[in-house]
Amino acid sequence: MLQIEDLSVVIHRPGRQVAALSNVSFAVAPGEVVGLVGESGGGKSMVARAIVGMLPSGSHATGRVGFDGDDVLRMDVAALARHRGRGAAMCFQNPRGALSPTRTVGRQLIDRLVTHREMSRDRARESAKELFAAVGIRNPARRLEAYPHELSGGMAQRVMISLATGCAPGLLIADEPTTGLDVTLTREILRQFRHAADTDGRGVLLISHDLASIAEVCDRVVVLYAGTVVESGPATQVLRRPAHPYTRALLRSVPDVGGGRVVPTAGGMPLLTAAPRACPFAPRCAHATATCRETCPETKTLSNGWSLACFHPQEAPLFDTADSRGVPGDESVGGPADSRGVPGDENVGGAAGSRGVPGDLNVGGAVPSAGAGGAAAGRVVLRVEDAHVVYRSRFSSGGHHALRGVSLELKAGETLGVVGESGCGKSTLAKLIMGLVDPSEGSVEVAGRNVRKLSRAERTRAQMVFQDPIGSLSPRRTVADSIAEPLRAAKVSSADRDKRVEAALGRMELDRSMLTRLPHELSGGQAQRIGIARALVGRPDLIVFDEPTSALDVTVQAQILDVIAGVAADAGHGSVFISHDLATVRGFADRVVVLYLGRVVEEGPVDEVFDNPRHPYTRALLGSAPRLGENRAAEVELVKDLDEADAAAGCALAARCPFVTDTCRSQEQILQPYGESRAACWRVPELPALIGKSAS
């Protein structure tokens, strides 16, 4: 159905030019789910746009985008209008942004139905309800009247899918449909696409940077790097036994709930100004030879649709053994010194790499494997006791009870992981610890002192690393200024300040020249390193990481996680690492706390909790976390989306828990010890049996 041949797109802008795609070829057949993966900027969205004929202004496209025999690139306006929606329909990356904010979602869907299925509006209304129900929207009649902002992220994505399928397209394109969604939702959403391919016979092009999550649903996978297809083929082949060094690097950057640590690859993707004349991955590749740096590898077809563009295909297993993942693999030896051969390399991340900071983040030795170490019995740096946080709404009475009776304790040298779905109160907990919100009940002590009574200088004893790396740096302050901020508060002399700032920067393996830059001149990874440097510079007692990598690209994420692992292992301070992604925590946390709707539902040593989860919620989370190379059904499936579950009396999970009983609904659950960990569920002992029953 879709047949892309030699597609190249160059975008001309005054003063610059971007070769977004170079000689991309692949195909999608009806009933097939094809995954398009790669890092940010790799050109994934550009492919999608080319398919619907909506390239940015100033684009020059060559090649062919064949669709049912026609070439999209050569369609006239009328043909394009017919092609869009009916031929290929796209689900956008950010569903909330892609839904028109001032029109009810129902009308938006009806518009599509009326246009493409020539229905009357009344008839379309009925169909709309069915479509909503089909993508798993409860109470569709009511939801038709909703405006996009009234929908949660998951709901918005479902609506987006229904809008796309509402056009009755031959090809469904989904551009990062699950970015920003919780693990439990991700599975559910991806299943919708599989469903569209299987039951409606549509072709599906699934775009993602997250290989692990799409691994399950794809038939075939195409890997893009810097606008070129580096590897493509059957999903099992590409994702389990990849041959291209880039694919391998990508896969090893993904954290895994099973344990072990990610293997970062240094450097960043180059921004090309013209179609590459050499292998674009060569500067970051450990196997690169002179040939790689001089000529462009041909795309070779190896077997049953598996093709590859590499002079040195790798065949070694991806990970040596399951538990030795921490040992650096062959490809991860960092960037070779010279990447200046990449023409017009403007990418800041790439520039850092090209500066040849050796082994940008050398993973090995220095950092002990975290899980193993166990907490040294240091002083207590953080004590949270029965903390409640209520956000008061401005006008009406009442408010949002974001944290309900959380208690924690953390010693220096220890790392505490905090996990939970979006909205469960993770950031609130971080703010609470930092003294940015006041507890309505309970107390928080950092290094033995109540945070509400800290002086300005003492405040810097606890530091935080934020989710949005660039957004957490003041846009008009230089890097040096930002890093020095805690020192200034602590009244450190300016000479001393400069020295310590440089030291912190050095520890982050960043160049001195960074000091005078402004945040917008930084790449995400660099900015996050600055953020970490700022947290470290005052030698704090406690560092809180609030989803420090969730805004970053896969390979960069791996780099940053590596840095954090190093920082967290420092015995001088305690660390709290917050994440919605369980896998990232596993790498280096000593203990882990699972939050659900403001409550701690399970807590214990990291390995114990991950390998031996007790609470149904933990089990569900772990079950939905994608694992490369494994196709497991989750043991526990939650029945509703988070935002539909109301926490009334009793167990907070009651509304979603498959094992719920009347006792659960009426009785508040408190943490009880089960083995090494503690969980807030009275049915823990019965669970294995129950799960066994439901599985069979």
Partner: protein
């Protein structure tokens, strides 16, 4: 391999199709070019004219352009060209000073109200509301009547009229900015309230101000002209475009264009200069935001 030019932005609106900013630059260049010329004319006015701005030519009034007077003389027998140049000092001076004053006062108010919030915000914003709800011209007239028509007083008048808008603008900006992560980051880094306001909020909240201020300078000149028209601007015979225009209105009707058309055009061009600059900056800011 055929090369095709894809449908342009014209027929197919495209996502994030950044504009090329060339027009924005043209606007900025033309706008600032006009203003530079006007500023130079103001600075070198005495060198560029043979007559003083309030010097009366005893040989007669309303002499047509040419001869001793490049642009003729006005109803008082004063040289229009010289007045035209000298007026630039007053007009540009008052407009720029007034807007600067308005920006300073408005920004401070907005910063305090926006960041501190609570009752301080309520009180300050109600005061701003009062001033903003106060009819522009009556406020201006009152200040003019109270303080007279001198340069400083006109600056105060025009600033009083414009300051509330800045207070609102900055407050709105600060209220979004204060939810930003970098403010939280600064707080956790131990920055003081004043430090946050001064080091982080102020520089960032000025972005929209920078765009509005030039536009505002243009409006300030128009306000000034309006005041002069009502007899409440600068006192005669001080050279000021608005008062020159209003003194010359009957002359236009009689076909003696030179007394009021040149100052009218000068005013128009300068206001346009500010507008173009503002529009250009706006466009550039928009482009950057995208």
């Amino acid at each position: 391999m055929a090369e095709v030019q894809l449908a342009s932005a014209d027929s197919v609106p495209v996502v994030s199709g950044a504009r090329d900013g060339r027009f924005a630059n043209t606007l900025i260049y033309v706008g600032s070019g006009i203003l530079v010329v006007a500023a130079l004319a103001a600075i070198f006015a005495p060198l560029l004219s043979l007559w003083g701005p309030t010097e009366i030519d005893p040989s007669g009034t309303l002499a047509p352009p040419g001869g001793a007077h490049l642009l003729g003389t006005d109803g008082n027998g004063m040289d229009v060209w010289s007045r035209l140049l000298h007026a630039a000092r007053i007009d540009l001076g008052i407009a720029v000073c007034a807007v600067a004053l308005a920006v300073v006062v408005g920004t401070l108010l907005g910063l305090i109200a926006g960041y501190l919030g609570g009752w301080i915000d309520d009180v300050l914003m109600r005061i701003v509301d009062i001033f903003q709800a106060f009819p522009t011209f009556i406020l201006a007239l009152a200040v003019a009547a109270l303080l007279g028509g001198g340069f400083t007083n006109l600056v105060i008048t025009v600033a009083a009229v414009n300051a509330p808008a800045y207070a609102r603008l900055v407050r709105a900006e600060v209220r979004t900015l204060r939810e930003m992560q970098y403010i939280e980051a600064a707080k956790t880094s131990g920055a003081s309230t004043l430090g946050i306001m001064w080091r982080h909020l102020l520089p960032n909240s000025l972005t929209p101000v920078r765009v509005i201020a030039p536009l505002n300078c243009g409006w300030a000149m128009l306000t000034l002209a309006g005041l002069s028209f009502l007899g409440l601007g600068v006192t005669v015979p001080t050279a000021e475009w608005g008062s020159m225009i209003s003194l010359g209105t009957s002359d236009v009707v009689a076909g003696r264009w030179w007394t009021s058309v040149p100052p009218g055009l000068a005013l128009l061009v300068c206001v346009l200069g500010f507008s173009l600059l503002g529009e250009g900056l706006q466009e550039r800011a928009d482009a950057r935001r995208r």
